[in-house]
Amino acid sequence: MSHIKDTILSVNEKKESALIPFLTAGFPKPDLFLELALTILESGGDLLEIGIPFSDPLADGPTIQASSQEALSNGINVRKTFELCREIRKNTDKPLILMTYINPVLAYGLKEFAESCVETGINGVIIPDLPPEEASDWKDIAGEKGVDTIFLVAPTTNKERFPLINGYTSGFIYYVSTTGVTGSTKKLPEELIRNLEDVRKLSRWPVAVGFGISTPEQVAMLAPHADGIIVGSAIIRKIQETDSDKVVDEIKTMIKQLKKATCLSSRWRSSEAKAGVS
């Protein structure tokens, strides 16, 4: 049973790709973060990914780094992130996913972290610097508590390695669109769609794509080929660039456009390969 997977599949049944927006916990300010989180979930976000700020986020580009730094200086830590999630959970049934680096999890305690996830209504966790090779302790604990761990597949992941990740992940597979960090401005690689289709064919789980996806046009292009689409840096950038009295409206408009793009395509795939696979 995975609420994350079930949600993505039920969105897919409507011939849409699931939209998974990202926010940094407590950014730009804790209250505004809560308002933005609920706005996103009400205006088209099918799931929400929440980043725990970290001092050394080596998978992130400058945009998310800056939001992380700002959240840290607002006093956000792991405990406070959980408190914020508890507030969001009071107002939504949609899946909530935490993105965190491994060190804050280790400092908090693996078992304690999994317990806090359950207690505050977190459905899954993404830990970008925890490859399957190092993940067995966490996987056992999280699995026992029913918390999904979403592993990443990258363009450099080869055929020999894929089954390892496919066996470890739960909830979905996070397909990294391009070599690089989050929010890279490079255009999406030409082989992306083919790679996505390859991964979807082999995967036991829904496949969501992220990294460098910022516009409704990109979302519309990818929607027929991905079960979910993750948009992070573009949302954070919009928050950074917008006056705080207008930011909720701006984000609402943005999410609506992105959501619309997930169901725009006329080339929507006919065969629902993932439905019925458990």
Binding site: A59, Q69, V105, L106, P131, A154, T157, T179, V181
Partner: protein
């Protein structure tokens, strides 16, 4: 033999990196294993170390220093006499040869004091490879001489403006570059840190220090040393000296940077330092599990040392393993103790040591006292790794001593 097959030294080490990098780490491990089996690789490396780097470096008996210490007979392993002025080049030459075997055309590296940056730029120039060096903005300011040297050697020095703007953030930025350009780029890590197989590769390339020391001391003294002393930042010069003596009855002492801490006064938790093994706790930084400086929330803390090369909140996983096992002892000395030791070596032996190496030297008087207390009659044979020369530090020193030059 450590690390084990998955790159762990006991519970330390491992590969805590984004998925994009994992295949590259396996590729590197495979290339390294193959290279080490290839006699032509060994031969080329050996030739370059001899004819280009200037190895073997001398093992020098510091008689006036020893006289002053009384019960310690101190030999200095003169890594400062290597081409480019420090031990760093032992590793960069080896890794550039590896990069070439893997068909990588571009080299990237982080640098703190600039010694590793210079050694990398040098090796890249030697093989005509493109080279980008990431360096914290604050380090660029305090190591202007090395920045200029790197540029003269054809490298591009990229300022890092994120976080603390020092070595830790330079490593982050280099990893980000590597994730982005993984297909054509090799990352030369400068110390025994980072994800497996780096701590192993860097250790092996630096082990030439200890291997030579063993031969030289046997020739000079007819026996192994009692004690090895070296400074520890990331820990590459110390592991290079220690590792070949791992199975011998030889005491290892690693000297960390206590920065502005004063051991004589009470609680100093807020005071900045870089004594990761002394005051840190286990965690994950830059791809491996090791002792790190962190707060209770797992956020990485800024380190401080007057020696830019020690100014790092992490340490090699093999050192963490040695610490827990009790195989090595880790102590720390302050900025001001290091400056005193710098002056002492200059006056007694006519050698200006790097501020990093001055930390190792600064521990000698305390070591002498300790040994005196326990065994007043005994003489101890000590080898200290003089990991680099002090020319790069004269501005820092002048400032600390309030002299204008």
């Amino acid at each position: 033999m450590l690390p084990d097959i998955s790159g762990h030294f006991g519970k330390y080490g491992g590969r805590f990196v984004p998925e994009t990098l994992m295949p590259a780490l396996y590729e590197l491990e495979e290339a390294y294993t193959q290279a080490r089996k290839d006699p032509s690789f060994e031969e080329e490396l050996e030739n370059l170390l001899k004819s280009y780097v200037g190895r073997p470096t001398p093992l020098y008996y510091a008689s006036r220093l020893s006289d002053q210490l009384g019960n310690l007979k101190v030999y200095l392993k003169r890594e400062d006499l290597n081409h480019t002025g420090a031990h760093k080049i032992n590793n960069t030459i080896g890794q550039v040869l590896l990069a070439r075997r893997m068909g990588k055309k571009r080299i990237i590296a982080e640098t703190g004091a600039g010694q590793h940056g210079v050694a990398t730029a040098t090796a890249a120039a030697l093989f005509g490879m493109e080279c980008d060096i990431y360096m914290g903005e604050i380090d660029i300011e305090r190591q202007a001489l090395n920045v200029f040297r790197m540029k003269m050697l054809g490298a591009q020095v990229i300022p890092v403006k994120s976080g603390s703007k020092t070595l830790k953030d330079a490593v982050n930025e280099t990893i980000r570059d590597w994730v982005t350009n993984i297909r054509n780029t090799h990352y030369i890590i400068g110390s025994v840190v980072g994800p497996h197989p780096y701590p192993m590769i860097v250790r092996d390339f630096q082990s030439v220090i200890g291997e030579e020391t063993r031969e030289q001391i046997m020739e000079l003294e007819g026996k192994l040393p009692d004690i090895l002393v070296a400074c520890v930042g990331g820990g590459s010069n110390s592991i290079g000296l220690f590792y070949p003596f791992f199975d011998d009855p030889v005491e290892f002492i690693g000297v960390e940077a206590a920065g502005e801490k004063d051991p004589a006064t009470g609680d100093q938790t807020e005071v900045k330092h870089a004594a990761t093994l002394g005051f840190g706790t286990p965690g994950v930084l830059h791809g491996s599990m090791s002792y790190i400086l962190q707060d209770h929330d797992g956020q990485i803390l800024e380190a401080h040392s007057i020696a830019a090369g020690l100014d790092y909140p992490g340490v090699g996983p093999e050192h963490s393993f040695y610490k827990d096992k009790g195989r090595a002892r880790y102590v720390s000395v302050t900025d001001s103790e290091a400056i005193k030791a710098f002056n002492r070596l200059a006056e007694l032996e006519g050698i200006l040591p790097a501020l990093e190496s001055a930390h190792a030297l600064a521990y000698l008087p305390r070591l002498s006292e300790e040994k005196e207390k326990h065994n007043p009659q005994d003489q101890w044979l000590v080898v200290l790794n003089l990991s680099g020369r002090g020319d790069k530090d004269v501005h820092t020193l002048a400032e600390a001593m309030e002299v204008s030059i």
